[in-house]
Amino acid sequence: MLKPLSLVLSTWVIAGSVLGPTTARAEQLEIVVEIPQLDVAEYHRPYVALWIEGADQKTATNLAVWYQMRSTAEGHGTKWLPDLRQWWRKSGRTLEVPIDGVTGATRPAGKHELKFDAQQPHLADLKPGQYTLVIEAAREVGGRELLKIPFTWPAKTPQSGKAQGKTELGTVTLSIKP
C-alpha cells in the first residue's frame, strides 16, 4: 500500500523539479463519445457509463454515468441502472447515486466531449499503470453495447485510442496529453 504511493510521490517530485511545479501532474484525459442517431419508432436516450478499470479488471474510478434523473413514481430512473450490466456489477450496485461530478442527465445523439485533468478527483488517486477505459451504453427498448480502450497512466508522451461501436455507440476516442 505504501510503496506505490511513495513511487508516485518520487516521480512527482522528480518531474516537478525538472519541469517546474506548473507542469506537474498536468495530464489531461479527453474523451469523445458519440451517441448515434438511430432511426427507430420509439427512441429513448441511452444510459451511458464511463469508467476506468485497472489490470485487475476492477473499477479504478468512475468518470461519468448518464441516466434519467427526472422524478418518476419508480424512482429517478434508477430502476434501470442495472441495465448497464457491467457497470452495475463492478461498482454501480454499491454506490449511492447521484454522485457529484459523475452522474448526470442522459444526452442526445451527437458527439460529447469529456475532459478530466489529473488533479480532478476522478483521476487524482490513479496510480501509474495499465488501464482500460470502458464505455457501456444501454437503451430502453433498444440494445446494449460495451467498448474498451486501453491506455497507460500517466502518459509520458501523448497517447490516443479509439473504439468503434456498432449499435448503441458510435466512435469513442481517448486522448491523453502529458
Binding site: 413514481a73 419508480e74 424512482g75 429517478h76 434508477t78 430502476k79 434501470w80 441502472l81 442495472p82 450490466r85 457491467q86 452495475w88 456489477r89 450496485r93 454499491t94
Partner: protein, 268 residues
C-alpha cells in the same frame, strides 16, 4: 378440498424419487433490482418444462421469505390458479432476499376397518393423530426446499445463513452474481454439515424451444462443494435429492430430502 391438498402435498413430497419427476420451481420476475420502490412478482409451479406453468401450481402455504436483515418478510397478493401460484414481494430493504417453499413433514398411510387412511403432519402431532397400533402403517418423512434469490442493490449474505435443516446451498459465489462463462461455487449442506457426493441436475429454462434438456450434472466433492460453469445466460433450475434414515419419529424408516434453486445467470 382437504384431500386434494394432501394429494398436492404428497405429489410435491414424492417428486424426487419418482422416475418421471416433475420439476417444482419458483420463478422471480427479475433477480437484480434497483430504484426507489422495487417489487418482484414470483410464479410458483410444478411442471415438466422449464419454466412453463402447465401442470399444477406450487402452493404457497409454506412460503418463507427472509429479508436482508435476517427477519421474515411478507409476500403480497398471493393467489393460486389452475397452473400456478403467484405472489408479489416489495423489496423494502437493500440487499439479498431468500424466498423458499419449505415442505417438511411426515406422511403416513394405513388400513382401518379395511379402509385406506392417509395422514400428513409433523412429528409433534404424530403420536396423537396416528393410532399406535395402525394396521399396515407406513410412514415416510420428507424435507424439501424450493428456493430462489433476489437482490435490491448490492448483494448481501445475512439472509443466506443456513437453517441447518435438510439440504441447503451456502454461497461461495453469491447467487445473484452469476454470469455466463464464469464458474460459480456453492457449498452443499445436509442438516448444516457439508455433504459429499450429492448429484445436482442443472437445466436452463426455455426447454420448449430446443430439442434436448441440455442438463449439466455436478456432484459435491469431499468438502461438499459444487462448481457450475454457466454455458450461457438464462434462468437455471438446479435440483438434488437424497435420502437417509435421520427421521424424527422411529416409525418412519426413511427421510427423503430434496433441494431446488432457481438461479439467474446474466450475460457478460
Amino acid at each position: 378440498m382437504k384431500r386434494s391438498l394432501i394429494l398436492a402435498w404428497a405429489l410435491v413430497a414424492a417428486l424426487p424419487l419418482t422416475a418421471s419427476a416433475h420439476k417444482a420451481w419458483l420463478l422471480p420476475s427479475q433477480t437484480v433490482l434497483a430504484g426507489n420502490d422495487p417489487w418482484i412478482s414470483v410464479d410458483a409451479a410444478v411442471s415438466n418444462d422449464l419454466f412453463y406453468f402447465n401442470h399444477v401450481p406450487l402452493r404457497l402455504d409454506n412460503l418463507v421469505i427472509i429479508a436482508p436483515d435476517g427477519n421474515q418478510a411478507e409476500a403480497q397478493n398471493g393467489a393460486t390458479g389452475k397452473y400456478r401460484s403467484v405472489f408479489d414481494l416489495q423489496l423494502q430493504q437493500q440487499g439479498t432476499y431468500r424466498l423458499a417453499i419449505i415442505n417438511s413433514g411426515l406422511f403416513a398411510n394405513w388400513q382401518e376397518n379395511g379402509e385406506p387412511k392417509r395422514w400428513r403432519g409433523t412429528a409433534a402431532n404424530f403420536a396423537s393423530e396416528v393410532p399406535a397400533n395402525a394396521e399396515g402403517l407406513r410412514v415416510s418423512e420428507s424435507v424439501g426446499r424450493i428456493e430462489t434469490f433476489v437482490t435490491n442493490g448490492a448483494p448481501s449474505d445475512k439472509a443466506l445463513q443456513p437453517t441447518g435443516k435438510g439440504i441447503e446451498l451456502v454461497p461461495i459465489t453469491h447467487p445473484n452474481d452469476l454470469y455466463a462463462g464464469e464458474t460459480a461455487q456453492f457449498r452443499v449442506l445436509l442438516d448444516g454439515k457439508p455433504a459429499e457426493g450429492l448429484e445436482f441436475e442443472v437445466v436452463r429454462g426455455g426447454t420448449r424451444y430446443r430439442d434436448a434438456q441440455d442438463e449439466l450434472k455436478v456432484t459435491s466433492n469431499a468438502k461438499g462443494e459444487i462448481s457450475v460453469t454457466w454455458p450461457e445466460p438464462g434462468m437455471y433450475w438446479l435440483e438434488t435429492t437424497s435420502q437417509d434414515s435421520q427421521t424424527s419419529v422411529p416409525q418412519a424408516q426413511q427421510r427423503r430430502l430434496s433441494y431446488v434453486a432457481t438461479l439467474e445467470v446474466l450475460p457478460q
